[in-house]
Amino acid sequence: MKYNEMILTAEESAILEGGQGETMRKALESIIKYGQTFGAKKLVPIDHPVHLVTSFGIPMLKPVFSMMDQLIESGLKTEHPFTVDPRPMDFGNVKCSLIEKLVFRKIMYGAQETYEGQLKKVGLAGDDAFTCTCYMDEVGNIPQKGQNLAWAESSAVVYANSVLGARTNRNSGILELLCGIAGRAPVFGFLTDEGRRASWVIEVRTSGRPEAQVLGSAIGMKVMEDVPYIKGLDAFLGTEMSQENRDYLKDMGAATASNGAVGLYHVENLTPEAKDLGVKLIKKDAATYVIDDAELRRIRDGYPVMWKNKSAAPARCFIGCPHLSKRQIHEWLGRIEAELERQGRTRVAVDTVMTAAPQVVEAFKRENGACERLRATGVHLASICPLMYMNNPLCAKKAIITNSNKLRTYSTARYFTDAEIAKIAVKGSIDV
């Protein structure tokens, strides 16, 4: 059957005619209309778990809850158990005042329990499936190169496409769930070879390895949703996809996706498709953007400071948006310990929270001695979404510092580089 410009299989046609019920019909109609908007001619089966962005039970999300109810009432769920972004609250590891707890539990995330119940009924992988870095080894939602997906969560999408070489569009919340339930995604954009070609060449000409979060910010702000092909970064990162490089690209990618709308980038001699195809990935009329030390300084100087008192002592520090890998937790532990020694202190002065996937936190805790060392520094480990924590008038007024450009973009948190964060967290003042 041809539905407007899209060729449908017999099964898809039957679904669209209501053969599997009204809710399934609406789910497929949504996916088809979405695909048609971008010229998709067909749907493709997806044989890998989806990753959802919507993890939070904010009562205002009534349209989402209503859709979930309809899916549940119709007995629909995803074929493969899925992962979802982090939970918004963890009072055990992220200290909150009584009034904050009340605001979180009763007002902000008053529908959290109900919503998590809905997620379970439509295919959630488990109680520990809440992280934005579902692709960590410990979590296991790791797509293969070339595999078609339907993911949301901008940082996970850009990672899956760029670092793993899988194929997913930047799907919006709930649309990804509908694709998971229908087991299909429309073929357009990043699911096509042409959609994965670069219309920008980024020339990195910095004097040293650029701060991942600022480099990503610069690229995102310049190319918006286009695909960049990054040259010169391999001089600092090398050509092997080590865990350190995966972590760097995770953080850089999250900044490209939040400061712009990048869903895929290629790093010359490093990311899978750039290794396979090289400059053939670059379109003929691609534009060029040169990033040097001065450009990175200009980008960073342009970040507005949203604190009322711009010289306030930080009330809290968040490290890990997106969630940290186990290697990064170790790296931060070493960085904080070194800074404590340098400043002659024993514990951090700023309430510091590192965030990672529940399975990553558990794996770190199982390692002999490391967890005790971290506890001794005063740093906490949690698995929340710092952005969700910040999204309320009480927390938004606090002087929060972060090394995350994504958190900076969506909240009043103030960005500092990794090295600055360590100094400030230990000293308790931004005057370092």
Binding site: V53, L61, I174, G189, M224, Y410
Partner: protein
């Protein structure tokens, strides 16, 4: 004085309204989250990175933009804003609509029967010509008319 542009209809409708213009990518989550979370009756743009629209009322306006950018909650935020009655009345894209905004307006229409009139591919000239406060006339074939009689600003 009026200028006319023709685009592609994503969600059809007729409307007369007032333009709010974002010449850079419009970050849906950053723009709507504060107003939506605090149950405001109007959405005041909260995107600190977009000074052109930061602090402006978006509700019921004709939002003129190249694309939406940012978090993949964007479409859901748009769908929710429509449900709460604080969304723009129309979205006019100079470029091809992005995947997040498309999801939002499509889900709002299919699942909630909320229609945000949406037209894309109006061209860069449209975004160069339109200014905040311009009166905008939209018809259901994708024709957009900019009328340069300034209405009252926010």
């Amino acid at each position: 004085m009026s200028e006319e542009y023709k685009g592609r209809v994503i969600i059809a409708g007729r409307l007369e309204g007032e333009a709010v213009v974002s010449r850079k990518g419009f970050n849906t989550l950053a723009s709507f989250q504060k107003s939506a979370m605090s149950k405001k009756k109007e959405a005041i743009c909260g995107d600190q990175n977009n000074p052109e629209v930061f602090g402006k009322n978006l509700t019921g306006k004709v939002l003129c933009l190249p694309k939406t950018i940012g978090s993949t909650t964007g479409g859901m935020v748009l769908q929710t804003a429509a449900h709460l009655g604080i969304a723009p009345a129309a979205l006019l894209f100079s470029e091809e609509i992005d995947s997040l905004a498309a999801s939002g307006v499509i889900l709002a229409e299919i699942w909630d029967d909320n229609r945000i009139i949406t037209i894309d591919q109006l061209g860069s000239g449209f975004l160069e010509a339109v200014e905040d406060g311009d009166k905008i006339e939209i018809d259901d074939t994708g024709t957009v008319r900019i009328i340069k009689e300034k209405t009252q600003q926010n």
